[in-house]
């Protein structure tokens, strides 16, 4: 008898919390009691769990402050002092990778695993991304000719992954690759992302033609959006514009290390409700690439969604969510 599929048993996210602690508390309160203690917790952020605020405090208060990682301590408080917590760092794909590793853990050893992600909108990150000229001067407009970057945001997410025969959304595919090309920019032809898409579809046992919807990475920088389109075009060819898709970063902001997890939770809810969210009309008028975006929400009975994530250093991750009928 086949084991039940790996599913998102429960999930919660919090956007723009007053600080990460508040976000963690709200997410934990929103989760149902766990069926069993988690076998592993994967925690994602783009830094070592050290916020800019802490950096200043540590420098000023040394050596009276004992260095602790707030996220790890918080997760231990939530899920038990003995639970192994692994911090995952793969740039802006960290949240998706944490979710993928949680799924692999369940696949390998059963039980349930937790994926957690948090990011603050700190002076550290803002000044860094500004120095790299990746922050949008106005509203982010991915895939348009006038795109100029993204808007940073803060958020926290928690997801419980385990096997279930009656869960609404299953996680059937996961892959991650590296472009091995450049310390910050993507491969210009989207080679790493294309390989990641193909590996994720192979993991899920699907052909490209069986994918019903795409959640674009849509970071909004000139090179990254072009590379993403080329990767998608290499897989779907002329069919690409007819494949429904959507982007979440213009609405949610770029949650950096947490974006992979929070966007997946949001995508799972859209999938469950049979909705494809829209983009702004003005953006559609200025699109540079032929993609299946729409200006109005679409009610569509789609069976699955492929989620794309890319990050600094050529990091790529893909997840495939399926809706249980």
């Amino acid at each position: 008898m086949n084991a039940p599929p790996i599913a998102l048993l429960d999930a919660a996210y919090c956007l723009r919390p007053a600080d990460s602690d508040a976000g963690w508390r709200r997410c934990r309160a929103a989760l149902r009691p766990l069926p069993q203690p988690p076998g592993h917790v994967y925690s994602a952020s783009i830094l070592n769990g050290m916020t800019a605020r802490q950096a200043v405090l540590r420098e000023a208060e040394a050596p009276t402050v004992v260095p602790t990682d707030d996220a790890v301590a918080t997760l231990r408080r939530f899920f038990g002092p003995a639970v192994p917590v692994t911090q995952v760092h793969s740039a802006c794909t960290s949240g998706a990778v944490a979710l993928g590793l949680a799924a692999l853990t369940v696949r390998a050893q059963g039980g349930v695993a937790i994926a957690a992600a948090h990011e603050e909108r700190s002076l550290f990150n803002t000044s860094g991304f500004a120095a790299l000229q990746t922050l949008s001067r106005g509203r982010p407009r991915p895939f348009t000719r006038g795109r100029d970057g993204f808007r940073l945001a803060a958020g926290v997410g928690l997801a419980v992954v385990g096997r279930s025969a009656d869960a609404a959304v299953t996680l059937t595919g996961f892959a991650m690759t590296n472009d091995a090309h450049h310390p910050t920019g993507p491969h210009r032809e989207g080679d790493g992302l294309r390989r990641c898409i193909e590996a994720c579809l192979a993991d899920a046992g699907l052909e490209p033609g069986e994918v019903a919807c795409l959640k674009f990475n849509a970071v909004g920088t000139p090179y990254s959006d072009a590379a993403e389109y080329k990767a998608l075009r290499a897989v779907w060819g002329a069919q690409l514009p007819r494949l429904p898709g959507y982007a979440l970063k213009p609405a949610l902001g770029h949650l950096q290390g947490a974006s992979g997890l929070v966007e997946t939770v949001v995508a799972a809810r859209y999938l469950q409700r049979g909705l494809v969210p829209p983009v702004a009309r003005a953006d559609l008028d200025d699109l540079e690439f032929g993609l299946g975006l729409a200006a109005v929400p679409r009610r569509l009975d789609y069976a699955n969604v492929l989620l794309l994530f890319s990050g600094f250093g050529g990091q790529n991750a893909c997840l495939l969510l399926e809706r249980r009928v």
Binding site: N48, V56, V72, H89, S127, F174, N178, D179, H182, G314
Partner: protein, 241 residues
């Protein structure tokens, strides 16, 4: 030991507890540039010390010892690194001028090096590793090999380079750690170590070596990998004390 295809390591000149014949913290990586034929918007000419240490360990494993199987394509080669607190110093170095002078003081050259993930990404570029590449951090030595095992058994890679870097600097976190270990008679020993694993590797083959601290010094997150190397070669690498 089954599943361990090879190992490599590096340490900076003058690490008194590691060797009498220091090697492989060499100039080429300190003047490292992306491989020819690529088109970066700017060139990264210098990598910071922890990255240089890490790249040198991989260089030892891949180029000097030739451990990567030739029949394993770059797309099936994964990488997993635990950099411990090695990158905290770079985060401080980036943020100090920003905190005092504002966002315009931020360095676009230093920012990409402030995350542990840069250790994975730069190694992927330097050694053409196109499979999964990520940094992990945990409070127990098994985190690294546990994650490497997941990548292997999950079918994301055929081989995984699992590595760790221990680099201390003048930050108070490093000083506090050094003082804690010094109180037990264990000096700090900066180093990087990498082992090449395939699917035959079993996580429970990893056992602690209680003599390691005294033999090598405090090697931070490298410790479980040194223990692994000691099991492969009970006499240790040639320059173990």
């Amino acid at each position: 030991m089954r599943g361990v295809l090879g190992f490599g390591y590096a340490h900076p000149l003058g690490a008194e507890c590691l060797t009498a014949a220091p090697r492989r913290f060499t100039a080429p990586h300190l003047a490292w540039v992306p491989a020819a034929g690529r088109e970066p918007p700017w060139k990264v000419r210098v990598v910071p010390p922890p990255t240089a240490l890490w790249l040198s360990a991989l260089d030892d494993l891949i180029r000097v010892r030739g451990a990567l199987p030739a029949d394993c394509p770059p797309e099936r080669r994964g990488l997993c690194v635990d950099a411990g607190e090695a990158y905290l110093g770079l985060q401080h170095a980036f943020f100090r001028p920003v905190a005092s002078g504002g966002p315009r003081e931020a360095s676009p050259l230093l920012f990409p090096h402030t995350s542990d993930a840069s250790a994975a990404s730069l190694a992927a570029i330097e050694f053409n590793l196109r499979g999964p590449a990520l940094a992990v951090r945990g409070d127990h030595g098994r985190t690294l090999v546990h994650t490497a095992g997941l990548l292997l058994r999950g079918g994301l890679a055929d081989v995984v380079l699992a590595g760790a870097v221990h680099y201390s600097d003048s930050l108070w976190e490093s000083r506090a750690r050094a003082e804690r270990f010094a109180a037990r008679g264990v000096p700090s020993a900066d180093c990087a170590v990498a082992v090449l694993l395939n699917r035959d590797f079993e996580e429970h083959d990893l056992v602690d070596d209680p003599d390691l601290d005294l033999a090598l010094g405090d090697t931070g997150p490298c410790r479980p990998l040194w223990a692994l190397i000691r099991r492969i070669r009970p006499a240790g690498p040639p320059h173990f004390k």
